[in-house]
Amino acid sequence: MNTNQTLSLTVNGVEYTREVPARMNLVDFLRNELHLTGSHVGCEHGVCGACTVLVDGLSVRGCLMFALQAQDCHVTTIEGLADKDGALSPLQAAFHDQHGLQCGFCTPGMLMTLQELLNEGITPTEDELRERLSGNLCRCTGYEGIVKAALQVLQSQSNAESAP
């Protein structure tokens, strides 16, 4: 398990090739090898969701995937959400409007889980939305601001779609 193997993948649109130990998990790789410290480690047993990233568009627990398993994959992290010029994505902006974060530690995971939802183009009810968020724990906000932010963005997304 201490042997190194070659990993090539794309993260936030940038290609990387690195030698990594087999036992290194994806979130540790992103944080410690690529210095993308936006994704956080909260529990290492796949419950809290702080390490959630998108792998080929699907939300996964970064602590439960080995880095090598992301071979040739496209990974998106929180650092990939804002525009190249730094402008916040609509989802990030909604979090700011609706006070969707306090300490900010769970926020990257929340954003990636919600980004996957937004990418699906569906309009869940609030109950369905809360169920989608149940894989991400927050200890500060009580979730209200996060849900409001998600609803705000979903609403404007569906307005945009139905606009003539």
């Binding site: 398990m1 087999a22 998990n25 290492e44 047993h45 796949g46 969701g49 959630t52 699907l58 939300s59 996964v60 627990r61 602590c63 439960l64 995937m65 080995f66 090598l68 398993q69 889980t113 996957e116 809360r130 169920e131 989608r132 149940s134 894989g135």
Partner: protein
């Protein structure tokens, strides 16, 4: 697969890696420490769903997410989808596999219960050849499956020749996506007089492996389906021997088996009546 089997045989302290949602937490806690992992995610043949004769074949590495969205499953095994949406969370279903869940054998695993409910047959492969293990023989102990060393689960075959008229998978969990404390899965078939022709009932979470409530299944044959029918079956469910642990008593598990059996049967029956009448 040949390479995977060869590696499994030849490599010291090796384990297969499926979705990782059960194995990797154990490794992160250092409760499991295999020296080598054989990554089945790289074997495309293991990830498929197809109708083969009177069965649906599901490759062991089929992602739970794929099952959740599959039109094939929706048409032929809707009870599996009813159970699946209660499994973990989106993130775990994106990576988790049916094979991984079956092999890990958590007492509350929905997919394990569904395989028992639908009389699935597990097909394994080893360097010595193939083996078929019926669902009733799959769990041989707490979190211990019937695979021999050197065997890999290849696919699961679920019969679909006689679709049920009604089904339900009712579980009680503390929070959304939690492991169920107890769950009851039901399939009902009605005859032309709307009496119960056949019933399958599985209890999950009550002991190491899922338990088919055979005595209740037999007793239901010919019944019209009423409150007292369900009450009697529920009483039988409550008599199933149950696990006891530090957090949950056997008594509470048995109690849940009773109340959830009632709900599961009532719900499956309502669906069965609707289906029967709609097709009439």
């Amino acid at each position: 697969m040949e390479e995977a089997l060869r590696l499994l045989n030849e490599t010291e302290e090796a384990c297969v890696l499926a979705g990782g949602q059960s194995l990797v937490p154990l490794m992160n806690f250092r409760l499991a420490a295999p020296k080598n992992l054989i990554d089945l995610n790289l074997i495309p043949e293991l990830n498929h769903m197809a109708q083969v004769g009177q069965n649906i074949h599901i490759g062991a590495m089929t992602r739970q997410r794929s099952l959740e969205y599959s039109p094939l499953i929706r048409e032929h095994l809707p009870v599996l989808q009813s159970a699946l949406i209660q499994v973990g969370h989106r993130q775990t279903r994106n990576r988790g596999t049916i094979g991984g869940s079956l092999c890990h054998l958590d007492p509350s695993a929905e997919l394990v219960a569904i395989c028992a409910l639908t009389d699935a047959v597990m097909h394994s492969l080893s360097l010595q050849g193939r083996r078929q293990i019926p669902a009733s023989d799959w769990a041989i102990g707490l979190m211990t499956n019937a695979l021999q060393p050197g065997e890999i689960l290849e696919y699961i075959a679920i019969p679909i020749d006689a679709p049920s008229h009604g089904h339900a998978y009712i579980e009680y969990a503390r929070r959304h996506g939690d492991f169920a404390i107890v769950a009851v899965g039901t399939r009902l078939w009605l005859d032309h007089n709307e009496r119960i022709a056949k019933a399958s009932i599985v209890l999950s979470g009550i002991s190491a492996g899922p338990v088919r409530l055979k005595n209740a299944e037999v007793a239901l044959i010919g019944a019209t389906g009423s409150q007292s029918t369900w009450q009697a079956a529920a009483e039988l469910a409550q008599q199933t021997p149950a696990m006891q642990d530090e957090q949950i008593t056997a008594e509470y598990r048995q109690h849940l088996a009773r109340v959830l059996s009632y709900r599961s049967l009532e719900s499956a029956h309502q669906m069965a009546l609707r289906t029967k009448r709609a097709s009439a």
